[in-house]
């Protein structure tokens, strides 16, 4: 890394010196040409003056032209031969043109080199900066649950609380551990995604089935947090995606929605086919976001104020965006403003349903999955 930087800086310095050299060479050549042309003009002028003197002294015009081949005599006046004057002017112009073309070509080439090197240096600086802030943020994200964990443990040790208070502390600690585990997973996932070291399959997958699997996993959490989750996805909607990626994307979006509505609310999933794509809409009644925050939502480490993403790593939606890009799909989010809920729309390329399933699905009504508040757990 360091050697590359030294090489880049050296190359940059060399190119800069070359550019200055070329500039100096151009100026020098220009000055040289100007001088040469002036000398030639002065010589011709002297010859013309001499010829004129000869004419005035009574030498015949023909004799003068014979003596001085560059001079023509007309009406008793000695003049420089027109073809010579023209040749001088055109030679002068030719040289200037040559400098202009060659000079600009070289300078352009050098400028391109400088731009390429400067760009590389800037990109490297940006990567470095991102890594720094990544480390700072990651350590911050870990230290908070770690501090909470330590505090709970020390509280247990110091105060020997009654069983129900102890139980509350233990639950808090378990949640902290789960949080850290989730963070590790997400950080690894995002690191892999960022380096593009991930190969996604492209299979036809039933969207309703994938959503149902994730909903089952989140049922318990939704019940505890008093969030009603409902899904109406037609079973004949098939998308082209990687099965694991589809799972991760739907889970991250739903977990995000859960965090946004924590303390009660609703999340609704619906889907439709449009223009060769299948769209999944996840609508929540949560904290929403302002217009300015919408743009940052899918960037790394975006934590929006308002409580929703308190537990997040700030990586969930970044992972969603990368996975959707790699699946040739897209993701967007919309909110009417803070406190007014949000809708995340995921779109995949549509897949033709396997015929047997499609004909079967056409006869069954849309699947209804919901996890209402008091649904008994089996």
């Amino acid at each position: 890394m360091k050697a590359t930087r030294v090489f880049q800086l050296t190359a940059l310095a060399l190119v800069l010196v070359s550019a200055v050299q070329v500039g100096w060479w151009l100026l020098d050549q220009h000055a040289y040409t100007v001088e040469k042309v002036q000398v030639a003009r002065a010589t011709y002028a002297e010859q013309a003056a001499a010829a004129q003197a000869l004419l005035d002294a009574g030498v015949s015009g023909a004799r003068v032209e014979q003596l001085l081949p560059s001079i023509v005599v007309s009406d008793g006046r000695a003049l420089l031969a027109p073809q010579l004057a023209q040749a001088l002017t055109s030679e002068e112009r030719r040289r200037y043109n040559q400098y202009a073309w060659e000079g600009s070509f070289f300078l352009l080439a050098l400028a391109a080199c400088i731009a390429v090197i400067a760009r590389a240096l800037r990109a490297e600086a940006r990567v470095h900066e991102e890594q720094e802030s990544f480390l700072a943020l990651v350590s911050h994200q870990f230290k908070t649950p770690l501090a909470s964990l330590q505090l709970s443990l020390e509280t247990l040790a110091l105060r020997a609380p009654p069983p129900d208070a102890a139980r509350r502390l233990i639950e808090r600690m378990l949640a902290d551990v789960a949080r850290m585990e989730q963070m590790v997973t997400q950080i690894l996932e995002s690191a892999r995604l960022e380096r593009g070291r991930i190969e996604l399959k492209a299979e036809p997958l039933q969207l309703a089935g994938a959503a149902a699997r994730v909903l089952v996993q989140l049922e318990e959490r939704a019940r505890v947090e008093q969030v009603a989750m409902a899904s109406t996805i037609a079973p004949d909607l098939f998308v082209v995606s990687d099965p694991l990626a589809l799972d991760v994307v739907v889970r991250n979006v739903l977990e995000n929605a859960l965090a946004a509505v924590h303390g009660g609310g609703s999340i609704a999933l619906s889907a439709r086919a449009a223009n060769g794509a299948v769209q999944l809409e996840v609508r929540d009644s949560g904290v929403g976001f302002g217009r300015a925050d919408g743009a940052r939502l899918f960037e790394k480490f975006t934590r929006l104020p308002g409580g929703g993403s308190r537990y997040g790593t700030g990586l969930g939606l970044f992972i969603v965006r990368r996975l959707m890009e790699l699946s040739q799909g897209s993701v967007s989010a919309h909110s009417d403003g803070p406190g007014r809920g949000a809708t995340v729309t995921l779109a995949w390329p549509a897949a033709a349903a396997p015929t047997a399933v499609a004909s079967l699905a056409a006869q069954t009504p849309p699947a209804q999955r919901s996890a209402p508040l008091e649904e008994p757990r089996s």
């Binding site: 501090a147 330590q150 020390e154 949640a175 308190r310």
Partner: protein, 242 residues
């Protein structure tokens, strides 16, 4: 500002609900009244109408960060002590926090006992300072043509110049004035003014004395009020050295 309940009231500003809950439960168990705020804006809003003995302030908050909150408070003349909690524990960050007007600084994850100790130390220090400046007689100190108002942290020097005192300067002056004529050791000053070892060096005390001399002595190089007792500490003479 300082009502009866405010003397034991602590404001906890922390955006992580688990950590906030843990800190609050422990403070309550120690007999403090506790209020919590999840963002810097909420904290500033609450502090505009309420007083408290201490603010436990997380640095990395969504929106205005902890340093920003502390700076806003100091700018509006609120001298409520602040204990910073932060995930970053490097010395540069620590200095940054103390410069922003914080009283103490604790890096996450922290030890519960140490946290409680520091809270107690800050609260006790300020309780002493407030009660020692409570009456009209103790709130004002006149010496050598200088006039110090301990409650407003302001002073008028012998040459008529208006002076804004920092909390630490005012506290040092208070300790010295309380022991007028007696020798106060550097360690005593550190203990009374800084409490826990935020600054481990007694050199810090010397620097503050130099600042006080510059503010209030007619000739800081030959002090008549803030006298050095070599190898021991300092002695304050209200009427000046005869």
């Amino acid at each position: 500002m300082s009502t009866a309940s405010a003397a034991t009231h602590v404001l906890v500003v922390e955006d992580d609900p688990h950590l906030a809950a843990g800190v609050m439960e422990n403070l309550r168990a120690e007999g403090y009244e506790v209020t919590s705020a999840g963002t810097g804006e909420q904290a500033l809003e609450w502090l505009a109408t309420h007083g408290c003995a201490l603010i436990v302030l997380d640095v990395m908050l969504p929106g205005v960060d902890g340093f920003g909150v502390c700076r806003s408070l100091r700018e509006r003349g609120d001298s409520t002590p602040v204990l910073f909690l932060t995930a970053r524990g490097d010395p540069a960050d620590r200095v940054h926090g103390l410069e922003a007007g914080g009283d103490d600084y604790l890096a996450k994850p922290f030890h519960l006992q140490e946290f409680l100790l520091r809270v107690r130390a800050i609260v006790r220090r300020w309780e002493w300072y407030r009660s020692a400046s409570a009456t009209a007689a103790t709130a004002l100190l006149r010496f050598g043509g200088n006039e110090v108002d301990f409650r407003a942290f302001r002073a008028r020097a012998w040459n008529g110049e208006a002076q804004e005192l920092t909390e630490k300067e005012a506290m040092i002056l208070k300790v010295l004035a309380e022991h007028g004529g007696e020798i106060v050791s550097r360690e005593d000053l550190l203990e009374r003014v800084w409490g826990y070892d935020v600054f481990p060096s007694t050199r810090t005390v010397d620097n503050f004395i130099l600042r006080l001399r510059k503010r209030f002595e007619k000739d800081p190089a030959n002090p008549r009020h803030f006298l050095t007792v070599w190898g021991v500490g300092y002695r304050f003479l209200k009427d000046g050295e005869p």
